[in-house]
């Protein structure tokens, strides 16, 4: 049984409490979250043996109670073997130190995306020609965090790394960091990808993914999947939430990779590739020029 220490930002423990009992071969045995009451509550619900108000406390006082760190971050879920290393929220830290860590960004493990990848693997869509992604989040979101995951997703779906990258961005008012980035990738062969990540006005996220293959196409589109609520205030819409299923799949992938003694399907290699592309995005934005890339596949 693999034992996890959950490092849960305030309010995020609820999802893990709901999904933990569905893990096969794994269990959350330690919890660290800032609020004592929440930490105790989540630990009880998870039947975890220890809780703490910080990962440092867990590491220094309860390191015999867990085998791996498990933490949602802005850049996606990180699951990393403990191996007596303190927790670090920066994926770069794990990328440098731990070959077996998992970068569980939601899109790799989303039930919405998985059928697309399966259809590609089965040859139903033919070789991918175009991956098109719209990823809009509410205004407070950092588009850079979204972009890393989408760059990885595009490469995963195409099945290789790009050789050309062109990026354009718009700043948010006076802020130095852009709140809108569009990235255009050209791959070896004739595949291409176009990604736009935005902090768009409004409270809700919007996501659409199209994969256009030589013999078929696949689309996930929040627009197509919206439901309607009519009330005195007018019409409102929502998309059914299944983020927890993606989280569950990501954690399960880590457990399975450990038991099968193989690297997780998305880890250091994919993180480094995404980071190299993100660096190229930065260069392209700074120079207003297309960048040639030499990124490992």
């Amino acid at each position: 049984m693999f034992r996890f220490a959950l490092v849960a930002p305030a309010g995020s423990g609820e999802s893990f409490a709901r999904l933990a009992h569905r893990l096969k071969g794994g269990k959350i045995t330690a919890v660290a979250t800032g609020e004592q009451a929440e930490a105790i509550d989540i630990a009880r619900r998870l039947e975890a043996s220890v809780w703490a108000q910080s990962p440092e406390e867990l590491h220094s006082r309860h390191d015999d109670q867990f085998d791996a760190w498990l933490a949602p971050t802005d850049l996606g879920l990180i699951v990393a073997p403990h191996d007596n290393r303190p927790w670090d929220p920066d994926p770069k830290h794990w990328s440098d130190l731990a070959p077996g860590w998992l970068w569980g960004h939601p899109w790799r493990f989303s039930p919405a995306v998985r059928p697309i990848r399966d259809a590609l693997d089965a040859g139903k869509l033919g070789p991918p020609g175009l991956v098109r992604i719209h990823d809009w989040r509410p205004a407070a979101h950092r588009v850079a965090a979204s972009l890393l995951a989408q760059l990885d997703l595009a490469c995963w779906l195409v099945g290789s790394a790009p050789k050309l990258l062109d990026a354009r961005a718009r700043p948010a008012g006076n802020a130095s960091e852009p709140d809108y980035i569009q990235v255009h990738l050209g791959f070896t062969g004739d595949a291409m990808a176009v990604i736009d990540c935005a902090s768009a006005p409004g409270q809700e996220a919007y996501y659409a993914l199209s994969v256009i293959g030589a013999s078929g196409a696949a689309h996930w589109d929040d627009h197509h999947n919206r439901q309607l609520l009519f009330s005195a205030e007018g019409a409102r819409t929502w998309v059914s939430d299944f983020d927890e299923l993606g989280l569950l799949a990501a954690i399960q992938e880590f457990i399975d990779s450990q038991s099968q003694r193989r690297p997780p399907s998305c880890g250091g290699e994919q993180w480094r590739r995404a980071l190299a592309m993100y660096d190229a995005v930065t260069r392209s934005l700074a120079a207003s020029e297309t960048q040639a890339l030499e990124v490992s596949p």
């Binding site: 033919g126 175009l130 291409m192 935005a198 768009a200 006005p201 078929g216």
Partner: protein
């Protein structure tokens, strides 16, 4: 109490059809408008027999004369406007010859495969002060409404526009099925007239960016009102043997910088019939300062499914498709008010320049500024 309203019926416009060898839905759209009538069909004498046959067929259908000799037709038949739907390489020349006689012109897309020809037309239209409309899809109900919402400020100033234009038509056999002989472009286009997918009828092969790119780029123009400053593009021959044999794209993606800082992307592909149950995935995404829009261009639709439904029959039927009427209405309104049309000569020329820059960008692997 009762009375009479001053004035009378609105004037009717007589059109000369100058070649109708492809996309004859354009002259048909003109003929269907209650204030328009076709007066004559004409073409040049040096055209091959199949061109004359096709023109004559349309003339007979509308019970109007077919005249060999464009200038003679325009002298003998008084008209106020012309509709041009010839082979692509003749578009501008025929339009300019009509414009030089003071006629307003509705022309099929693409404007031309030569930017010099586009420039010649822009200059002629300016000099003769006539209206020009290039055929487009900005009158589709969802696009029309989106344009109005943006113009009314519903989402504030536009920051980014994205147009996805994947249409699920085939262009002959798939790429994975090479034929004994390379497929001849013009022969294929002439045969494709039957189902209206002969937009690439030209003296050289045209990729989908050239043939269909005008639609999403016209949407972009409608929603942003801005000209393109630079474009980065990728193209591929991904789906059809016709495109592979003739070395022209059937899939393309553009990343665009527009004036006023607006950013945009456009994806265009003739993705093949199996890739969509209906006409295709065609969408607009607009991000503004105060809000955003995600719009399905084909909707509203009525869905019809039944036992024994042929595989090729579209399951969803578009409803309230008034594009033809709205475009002709817009053209007449522009003529009468001396205002610009939805897609005038200058805007059409700029779209062609963007397409040519995109093709160059795809060749060079870097960003290119349209001429």
């Amino acid at each position: 109490m009762s009375g009479r309203v001053a004035g009378g019926a609105l004037p009717k416009y007589r059109f000369a059809v100058l070649s109708a060898v492809k996309h004859d839905y354009v002259p048909r759209a003109v003929a269907a408008h209650p204030r328009c009538e076709l007066a004559v069909v004409a073409d040049d004498a040096d055209q091959p027999q199949w061109v004359h046959d096709r023109n004559r067929q349309l003339a007979e259908e509308f019970s109007v004369p077919y005249v060999i000799g464009v200038e003679r037709a325009l002298e003998e038949h008084p008209v106020q406007a012309a509709v041009v739907s010839s082979q692509v390489q003749r578009h501008c020349d025929l339009s300019i010859r009509a414009i030089e006689r003071g006629l307003h012109v509705i022309q099929d897309k693409p404007m031309s495969h030569s930017l010099a020809e586009c420039d010649r037309l822009v200059e002629a239209a300016r000099r003769r002060n006539v209206r020009f409309l290039m055929w487009n899809r900005n009158g589709m109900p969802a696009v029309w409404r989106t344009g109005r919402l943006v113009a009314e400020g519903a989402i504030g100033a536009v920051r980014a526009v994205h147009v996805d234009f994947y249409f699920a038509k085939d262009a002959g056999p798939p790429k994975s099925h090479p034929q004994p002989q390379p497929i001849d472009w013009q022969t294929h286009q002439i045969a494709a007239h039957v189902d209206g997918s002969d937009g690439g009828l030209a003296d050289r092969p045209l990729g989908e960016l050239e043939i269909e790119g005008v639609y999403p780029l016209a949407h972009l123009r409608l929603l942003s009102g801005a000209r393109v400053k630079s474009v980065f593009a990728r193209t591929a021959r991904h789906f059809h043997q016709l495109n592979a044999d003739n070395n022209v794209d059937d899939l393309g993606s553009l990343s665009l910088e527009l004036e006023d800082g607006v950013l945009a992307t456009v994806c265009v592909g003739r993705i093949g019939r199996p890739s969509h149950p209906n006409l295709g995935e065609i969408k607009l995404h607009v991000i503004g300062e105060k809000g955003s829009l995600a719009v399905n261009e084909p909707r509203p639709e009525t869905a019809i499914y039944y036992r024994g439904q042929p595989a090729g029959e579209m399951r969803h039927r578009r409803v309230a498709v008034d594009n033809d009427h709205l475009l002709v209405e817009n053209f007449l309104s522009a003529v009468e008010s001396e205002s610009e049309t939805l897609l005038d000569a200058r805007a059409s020329r700029d779209i062609s320049a963007t397409v040519f820059a995109a093709l160059e960008s795809a060749r060079l692997g870097r960003r290119v500024a349209p001429a």
